[in-house]
């Protein structure tokens, strides 16, 4: 059995399991494991949200997710990086993205986790359409919104 470990970044169409993600970055060499989970929130920009539909330019999004995982691994010197982004129809509290990082030390683990979500939001071709309580749906353009940082 090979013990070779490499960073993973992928699209999924199933529930994101934070425990399973953590197990993918666990190693005796790590003193810190961080998992970040982005979930669907009930209010965005003052509108009542009932769910979000995620879509992507799938081959490019998969390539970019893997590239971000690889770049994070190189930048923060750990092979223990696992990123999953879910596509499809999500309900309130469903996880849309999960990021797990294992590192010898907590500082680098936190930094890597934060770097990954910001890169993901900047460059992975994924789109979301929010569904509202009044039955309408709208594509979300984070750049067109208020100065508040967009939350995943």
């Amino acid at each position: 059995m090979s013990q070779f470990v490499s960073p993973i970044g992928e699209l999924v169409d199933r529930t994101i399991d934070p425990g399973a993600l953590l197990s993918r970055v666990s190693s005796p060499s790590n003193g810190a494991l961080i998992v970040f989970v982005g979930v669907v929130r009930e209010v965005n920009e003052g509108r009542d949200v009932t769910g979000i539909e995620y879509s992507a330019y799938e081959p490019m999004a998969a390539r970019e997710l893997q590239a971000i995982a690889d770049e994070a691994g190189a930048r923060f010197a750990t092979p223990h990086v696992a990123i999953e982004h879910r596509l499809g129809e999500l309900a309130l509290e469903d996880a849309s993205v999960g990021i797990a990082v294992g590192h010898a030390h907590r500082g680098a683990a936190y930094e890597a986790s934060r770097w990954i979500i910001e890169e993901l939001k900047r460059r992975v071709p994924i789109w979301k359409r929010e569904h509202y309580t009044d039955g309408t749906r709208e594509w979300v353009d984070p750049a067109s919104r208020s100065a508040q940082p967009a939350s995943p």
């Binding site: 490019m60 982004h85 992975v124 994924i126 594509w139 984070p142 067109s144």
Partner: protein, 80 residues
């Protein structure tokens, strides 16, 4: 030559299609693809300089395109 143009999310809604085939002269660039696209009905709902990709990699307006390339027009991304 012919290239495939992919549209997504709000841009697909604006153009009423998620994929188009465009005929362009040899030597055309990403900018030429965009100019051709902008002549289509509904394209006025796109920004003047959207993000573009060629064969699944981000590309600038002066990047060359070749016959059979897959050119994507990328709306503002909203992952996370």
């Amino acid at each position: 030559m012919s290239v495939t143009v992919l549209l997504f999310a709000s841009y697909a809604d604006a153009l009423g299609a998620s994929s188009l085939s465009l005929d362009l002269p040899a030597g055309a660039t990403v900018g030429d693809v965009l100019a051709e696209l902008m002549s289509r009905p509904g394209a006025d709902r796109l920004p003047p300089s959207p993000l573009m990709a060629v064969n699944q990699r981000y590309a600038s307006a002066d990047s060359p395109v070749r016959s059979g390339d897959e050119v994507a027009v990328i709306p503002p991304v909203a992952g996370g």
